[in-house]
């Protein structure tokens, strides 16, 4: 074998070997935090779609709003276009004032830089009535309790809905007076998930004096996992947005105010 062949054959072999490798596509690099779109879309029966928030992930600088998206709600052949609030980048709302209906399926579609994100929810029936045993709680009184009872949606033995109860003070944080007690890990807002149309509140639920807004939101059971997880460390499962992360959830809401004094 001559020297020319000795050089050429390894080169041919190298090319063949390289072509074996190139048959296998390269793995795309990891997506960046900025590539992930976060959707916070909660719609309420009897109200307009007044705040759908699109943002990037928080990777240290907070969740910054995403502008210039086309956000549409569709239902029964009709559609509602949402416009971005110029004062609040990333927040989209319905300027036409169309009230959302109970027991209705809504499709969310977001178009952003050629990408399309979709989701679907069915609004629950309307919650009708909320009974509150009293409008205040006294911190100094031992075991002071408030009973909440509302006209629930579940019937029979099978739960179709659950209730998310949130409490938040109706004042700026700087104006709030903290309740003096032994340290405990109460957050600014307490969330409670219940399957029965009733809840008992005590002063242990509250950290500040003053008026608190109590909201009871009925949500279909299919969305339960989006709320039950404190946080998602095992995957990106706490999302019902195709192509993005976040929530599109229809709720039916009742509210009252309780004073802590």
């Amino acid at each position: 074998m001559n020297r020319f062949l000795l050089i050429r054959i390894p080169l041919v072999m190298l090319v063949l070997a390289l072509s074996m490798v190139s048959c296998v596509k390269q793995i795309p690099v990891a997506e960046q935090a900025s590539d992930v779109v976060v959707v916070n879309a909660f719609i309420e029966t009897g109200r307009t779609a007044d705040d759908i928030f699109l943002s990037s992930l928080d990777s240290g600088q907070g969740m910054s709003g995403i502008s210039d998206a086309r956000v549409t709600l569709r239902s029964e052949g009709a559609f509602i276009s949402l416009d971005e609030d110029p004062a609040r980048p990333g927040h989209y709302r319905d300027l036409e004032g169309i009230f959302l209906k109970p027991n209705t399926s809504y499709d969310l579609e977001i178009l952003l830089d050629g990408e399309r994100f979709t989701s679907q929810t069915i609004t629950p029936p309307s919650l009708l009535e909320l009974n509150v045993s009293k409008q205040y709680l006294e911190v100094e009184q031992d075991n002071d309790l408030v009973f909440l009872e509302w006209e629930g949606l579940n019937s029979g033995s099978f739960n179709e809905f659950f209730y998310l109860v949130t409490m938040r003070p109706l004042a700026l944080l700087s104006e709030l007076e903290e309740i003096q007690r032994s340290p405990q890990e109460n957050e600014l807002m307490v969330i409670n998930v219940t399957y029965n149309p009733e809840l008992v509140l005590s002063t242990d639920f509250f950290r500040y004096y003053g008026n608190h807004l109590i909201e009871i939101k009925a949500i279909r059971l299919e969305h339960e996992e989006l709320f039950r997880a404190q946080m998602d460390v095992s995957g990106n499962g706490a999302s019902n947005i195709e192509g993005a992360v976040g929530f599109f959830v229809g709720t039916s809401t009742l509210a009252t105010v309780i004073e802590v004094r």
């Binding site: 072999m13 190298l14 296998v24 690099v29 992930l57 998602d232 095992s234």
Partner: protein, 867 residues
């Protein structure tokens, strides 16, 4: 300098002058030549003329072989015009160590000037059929030994034994410069990489010589964990490798949670690594093969070796039994349970860190802990030549690890409450392997050879864990919790194999049968309360495999060779017939150049679905594929390669493509490296494709050994449940992997250094968090599994050793430094996410936790040998 007149000067001294003058490679037997005195005048113009003049009247002559001049007795060289043999013939014989008399397995025999050759069998015997009539000489070579050539003049049917001399043996200051393959050797047209056992000692940078760490320096072989005694060959998991020791398999291949391999270097005679397409007599695994042949022991005199280092001590004893038998006993034990050296402690710390990094919420601040650990292994091998045609080897192996730990963790309430939680943990665990191999080799008439073996292997693990929690308020007990767990895991593997090798026209035929019985037992006893009855679960499954295999090889035109083989197995557990065809075509137009093309199927039915992790209460767990819920691992591999020798240089290049079906992964382990249950929850199955190039450049010259191994490996896994079916790499994939090893021996000094540079390991990145605007809850978002890469790995190790000789004893002292630049190499990354936001913070606190590989670690080498 020449010209020069010599008077009554030993021929060996004159040869030294010639070697220096011509810068030539000369090979000669110093013992035989030293007594011969020469009186001659040499001109220094032409080496061959000077050699002719020098050897005139000495009964010695010279012959060029490759780039070396062999000085050999006159009778072994066929003179020009000598009688040409009438017909082709067969030669049989054995290749042995000249000092100890031990047979040398897998030694190469080649006909000079031809690509024809063979390798010895495990008993050192060989048969070379159809030798061309114009054959000049037959040469035997063996890694770490000086080659030897013998004339085939006037032979028709005869036996020819070779006695090879080991390089750098007990005798210091070796004068002969000759054809010595050292370090690693590419064999069988690149299909096998052999490692010289002495290399393990040369590459000692981490406390003890270690087989797996040396194998990791080969192209295409990596460690799943940078340093650990674990082998990933071309994209296969380490449990997919067949690790054979004297005919039996070794299932759990490391000590000390993966830091050292279980195979004692002092007991090793031969190491062969098959990465590509291998013969059908190897089976049961879908990855590579590491075949280790144990030493049989010195057949001429007693040898005692004692070694001590910062990890443990070892002793080996070799003794002849009668004229035809020998016995070798080696024992190795760590002294870590009564001597806590710095090296041991840093390795133990790493084991702790690796384990605790698995749980992001685990608090490392153990208040009191008292770990006790040791490992040992014992090898015994006897080898008996029952007759000139029969050899019986019996090899026994037992190795194990024992770990016990008692710790007390105390937690105080974070809000200042007088509440206190005490956690008492007791771990008591042991695990190990036992193996027994009986091998009978028989040379038969007409070049036939029979090999019969029985192998038994057992892996067992026993794990006992107790946890007691006591909750106190102001010193008064509030609550107590008790739980205990006993896990007992046992795998038994019994195999019988008989195979025969027949010479057939233009090649050989090998036919064999193997029966393999696998039995897996698992027991678990749990108690959740000290007063309650224990929950007991156990299971045993068994699988019987009957295998027929055959391989036929042809050689034609002295340059083309074809090997075609088939392995067919009937498995009674899956009720399946597995067919594994394999083929390899090679073309060797000249002795220093060859090409190869091949492909084959490899099937594995016993799978490891959980890897040992002490702190996750988890032993290795092996299960049998049922062919449905747990599929078999099926690998197809195609290869294309070439091999070249140019002077002192060897080049080997091989491209490969693999398709692995039935890969198994634990989804949770990919992200958080957390445990999973023995019910196999979290196991997912998919397919993998691996393609790459392995390149090896090797240089050997007068004490210098250098090799550069580079691999490029693309690994693509597709699992329906992971990344929504998008591809991702293996957890251990490093696309670019460069290893440079250099060793230099000068007189009694041995210097070695190695350098490793590779792509970083893949990991699952945490991209960020987001908040549910309705509830204020925070969520964490990860990127695709294993979609990002950690920083590149870089490591530089050095070691220097010196040997001192006194009559019949040798003392080796050395110093090694691991990771000389103290580079922070990261093996894995996980995240710890606080459950709630800190007071006043806008976001969750996320801690990035990197598991770093070993930092700069010096170690000391001490070894004493008495002969």
């Amino acid at each position: 300098m020449l010209p020069q007149t010599f008077s009554d000067t030993p021929v060996t001294e004159v040869l030294k002058v010639l070697k220096k003058h011509y810068d030539a490679r000369l090979a000669y037997d110093v013992t035989s030549l030293r007594p011969i005195l020469a009186s001659v005048r040499l001109q220094g113009d032409n080496l061959e003329e000077d050699l002719t003049e020098l050897l005139k009247g000495t009964n010695y002559t010279f012959t060029p072989l490759k780039n070396t001049y062999l000085i050999v007795p006159l009778r072994v060289i066929k003179s020009k015009g000598a009688q040409v043999l009438e017909r082709s013939f067969t030669i049989t014989g054995k290749v042995r160590d000249v000092v100890s008399g031990e047979p040398l397995p897998f030694a190469s025999l080649s006909i000079s000037g031809s690509s024809k050759g063979t390798v010895t069998r495990v008993d050192g015997s060989y048969a070379l059929e159809n030798i061309p009539t114009d054959t000049l000489q037959l040469c035997a070579s063996y890694l770490g030994y000086r080659s030897s050539c013998a004339s085939l003049k006037n032979v028709t049917e005869k036996s020819l034994d070779f006695y090879l001399e080991r390089n750098n043996t007990f005798l210091p200051a070796v004068e002969i410069i000759t054809e010595i393959e050292r370090g690693i050797q590419v064999m069988e047209q690149g299909q096998i990489l052999a490692i010289e056992p002495a290399l393990l000692e040369r590459l000692t940078v981490n406390g003890q010589p270690d087989l797996f760490k040396a194998v990791q320096f080969l192209p295409g072989v990596s460690s799943g964990d940078g340093i650990d005694a674990q082998l990933n060959i071309r994209g296969n998991e380490d449990d997919e490798n067949l690790v054979l020791w004297d005919g039996f398999k070794i299932y759990h291949q490391n000590h000390f949670f993966g830091v050292f391999s279980t195979l004692n270097p002092n007991a090793i005679r031969n190491i062969q690594v098959h990465k590509g397409v291998y013969a059908p007599r190897y089976g049961g695994r879908s990855g590579g093969v590491l075949e280790v042949t144990g030493r049989t022991g010195d057949r001429k005199e007693d040898v005692l070796e004692v070694g001590l280092d910062l990890i443990g001590a070892d002793i080996s004893l070799e003794t002849p039994i009668g004229s035809s038998s020998s016995l070798l006993v080696t024992l190795r034990r760590s002294h870590s349970d009564f001597i806590g050296t710095g090296l041991f402690n840093s390795l133990l710390d790493r084991v702790f860190e690796q384990s605790t990094a698995n749980d992001p919420d685990f608090d490392l601040s153990l208040s009191e802990t008292d770990p006790e650990f040791f490992y040992y292994d014992l090898n015994m091998k006897s080898s008996t030549e029952l007759s000139s045609k029969d050899q019986l080897d019996i090899s026994f192996f037992q190795g194990g690890d024992t770990f016990s730990n008692e710790s007390r963790n105390q937690y105080e309430a974070s809000n200042g409450s007088p509440r206190e939680l005490n956690d008492y943990l007791t771990d008591d665990t042991s695990w190990g392997n036992t193996g027994l191999g009986i091998i009978w080799n028989r040379d038969m008439k007409n070049g036939r050879h029979a090999f019969t073996s029985a192998g038994f292997s057992e892996y067992s693990s026993s794990y006992y864990f107790v946890e007691e929690q006591k909750d106190f308020l102001n010193g008064f007990p509030l609550a107590e919790k008790f739980s205990s767990l006993l896990l007992d895991n046992r795998l038994r593997d019994f195999s019988l194999q008989h195979r025969q090798l027949f010479p057939v026209p233009s090649g050989t035929l090998e036919i064999g049968y193997e029966w393999n019985l696998l039995s897996l037992t698992y027991e678990q006893i749990t108690r959740e309360n000290a007063d309650e009855l224990a929950l007991f679960t156990d299971s045993t499954v068994q699988s019987s495999n009957h295998t027929l295999f055959a391989e036929r090889d042809w050689m034609w035109n002295n340059s083309w060779a074809l090997e075609i083989g088939l392995r067919s197995t009937v498995n009674d557990y899956t009720n399946s017939l597995y067919l594994e065809p394999r083929a390899l075509l090679s073309y060797q137009p000249r002795t220093d150049f060859s090409m190869r093309l091949g492909g084959g199927n490899f099937i594995q039915t016993v799978r490891r679905v959980a890897e040992q992790n002490l702190f996750l209460r988890q032993p290795d767990q092996w299960v049998l594929s049922d062919g449905e819920a747990l599929p078999e691992s099926r690998t197809f591999q195609g290869i294309l390669g070439l091999n070249m020798h140019m002077g002192d240089w060897t080049f080997d290049l091989e491209g490969f493509y693999k398709r692995i079906q039935g890969s198994v992964l634990n989804q949770e382990q990919i992200r958080l490296l957390s445990t999973f249950t023995l019910e196999q929850e979290g196991l997912v199955f998919g397919d993998s494709e691996v393609a790459g190039i392995d390149a090896l450049i090797q240089y050997e010259h007068q004490g210098h050994d250098l090799w550069i191994a580079y691999s490029y490996t693309a690994s693509l896994n597709r699992f329906k449940e992971i990344n929504k079916g998008r591809v991702f790499p293996s957890t251990f994939n490093k696309p670019n992997d460069l290893k440079v090893v250099y060793a230099y021996s000068y007189l009694d000094y041995l210097f070695s250094t190695d350098f490793i540079y590779s792509s970083g390991y893949p990991f699952t990145p945490l991209l960020g968090t987001f908040e549910n605007q309705l509830t204020g809850q925070d969520f964490v978002v990860y990127g695709d599994d294993l979609s990002a890469r950690l920083p590149e790995l870089f490591r530089w190790d050095i070691s220097i050793q010196r040997s001192f000789y006194w009559s019949r004893s040798k003392l080796t002292l050395g110093l090694g430094v691991y990771n000389l630049t103290n580079r922070k190499n990261i093996r894995s990354r996980s995240y710890g996410v606080d459950q709630v936001r800190p007071e006043g913070a806008d976001e969750l606190t996320i801690r990035t936790m990197d598991l770093e590989l070993l930092a700069l670690t010096p170690n000391f080498i001490l070894r004493y040998t008495l002969r």
